[in-house]
Symmetry: C2
Subunit: 260 residues, 2 copies
DNA sequence: TACATTTATATAGCTTAATTTACAAACAAC
DNA sequence: GTTGTTTGTAAATTAAGCTATATAAATGTA
């Protein structure tokens, strides 16, 4: 049993044929004509034309240039925008395929054990959600660093795109929540270290849930702020972590996303 | 413009109706009868029956128990396996939705810049692939630690499921490649530190590609082994990293997957 | 044994999607 | 101006899927 997936761009309501449409776009890029492209996909000319018309109309910028008459009776070519859309699709697609592939390798479908689902669920979706107010936004050319003041006094840094800042309509003083996977939280007992990650939180360990393989650590940052981390039980023992011990949680700024 | 996706279980070739089929399974769990479930989805009885029959036949274990006749004329209920499949589906689905949601928030579709595609492509798919031989496999109840001896002399640790070990047919001495996203590689200048991550590689910085926001660092571990890391330019400067400087790369064992 | 209710299966009819076919319009090249 | 090739539309035709309907088979219960 295998997993697979269909990406849909949302510019059309019939998702299942996006794959075919991308093939069509590629063929158009190759042959320079809807007619030849349709033959090579294969699909009917009308279907091809309808698809292209729908995409052109629904997307914010035209995806193809169509010209009628002329040297060889006209032709159709992808716009720069169209090429980028195709690039983006293939990028997404390959990433998704890799994701699903590794996942189905991890799962034994012949006897799905509750344990493996629980574990997957833990590594996939265990997340920290910690709220605070926007203290400062530092705009770069493409990305922005968003500084979030927490109840505990710490300032957390998240890197998101400028576009995301606008989409969320972020402004100073906004109450937001920082979201990051507990899988992305590293724990160290050296509190003073130079590391590329920008977020370092020192706190005391409040709770340890020890599984066979993985352990979940809940760290108290003070004033109600907590950070959870999942690490291996081995690492837990190696570091000598115990309830009440002081430790340091490390999170990369780019691993933190922001919700409002 | 939005992204969305369709998950397909591969136990059927017509992916686009999986969503409906999962709804059907849920309804069966609730009502205990195909008839009532079909009415509530809604879909025709025949379509429901065909779906269930197809799923039952194609999946390694039956998904539903059907009984005819009896107290209330019989009935249909989900097997334990069926319930788990449903659980797994919803888990995958929600994770995928989150992935696509954050992604589409990061992209400005009105003018897709080459820069943003390049950047996305970098954060999504930039990966390290480093080969070595299996030195030791430590089996746990669910997961296994695989120790891989590198050319540089380092031993790398990867945590994967026992099932994956079997699927790959891993054995001592096998030549394998360890794969991990360069996004998951942290850089520090403190070479002696206690941290939950199990992989620490000390090397010299061989190459720095500095972008506007992100920088890509290539570290030489010796004997041809290299590790790439993408960190923010800010972090690069803060750590004072330069070509020839000694640094330490940190990778979580669970972030490393194995290919053969 | 008759009953109630559901699964299991076949078939006719309907509805929608897609292919095919046909043809007008455009226009650079000859 | 004729030609050749393609885009752009419309209508006819075919295919496929779904619904509705009918009916046999199963069987615990009354």
């Amino acid at each position: 049993m295998e997993f697979s997936s269909n990406l849909t761009l949302g510019i059309l309501n019939e998702p299942f044929l996006l794959e075919k449409r991308i093939r069509l776009l590629n063929a158009i890029d190759q042959y320079g004509s809807i007619l030849k492209a349709a033959k090579n996909v294969p699909m009917s000319y009308k279907a091809a034309w309808d698809s292209i018309d729908a995409m052109n109309n629904l997307s914010p910028q035209p995806i193809v240039n169509r010209s009628t008459g002329g040297k060889n009776g006209g032709g159709t070519s992808l716009t720069e925008y169209g090429k980028k859309v195709v690039d983006l699709y293939t990028l997404f697609k390959s990433e998704q395929e890799r994701f699903l592939q590794t996942l189905s390798k991890e799962i034994n479908f012949n006897h799905l054990e509750l344990e493996s689902i629980r574990r997957l669920s833990m590594t996939i979706s265990a997340r920290n959600q910690i709220s605070g107010t926007v203290e400062h936004i530092e705009r770069g050319k493409v990305n922005a660093s968003v500084f979030i003041k927490l109840k505990s006094g710490y300032t957390l840094v998240s890197i998101i795109t400028n576009h995301a800042v606008e989409a969320l309509d972020l402004a100073l003083g906004n109450r937001v929540s920082a979201i990051f996977k507990s899988n992305n939280v590293l724990i160290t007992t050296d509190s003073a270290l130079n590391i590329s990650a920008r977020n370092k939180f020192i706190g005391t360990i409040a709770e340890i849930t020890q599984g066979a393989i993985n352990a979940s650590i809940k760290m108290d940052l003070g004033n109600g702020d907590t950070v959870s981390s999942t690490i291996t039980t081995d690492a837990l023992l190696a570091l000598g972590l115990q309830k009440g011990v002081e430790a340091c949680a490390i999170v990369k700024a780019s691993d933190i996303m922001i919700g409002k």
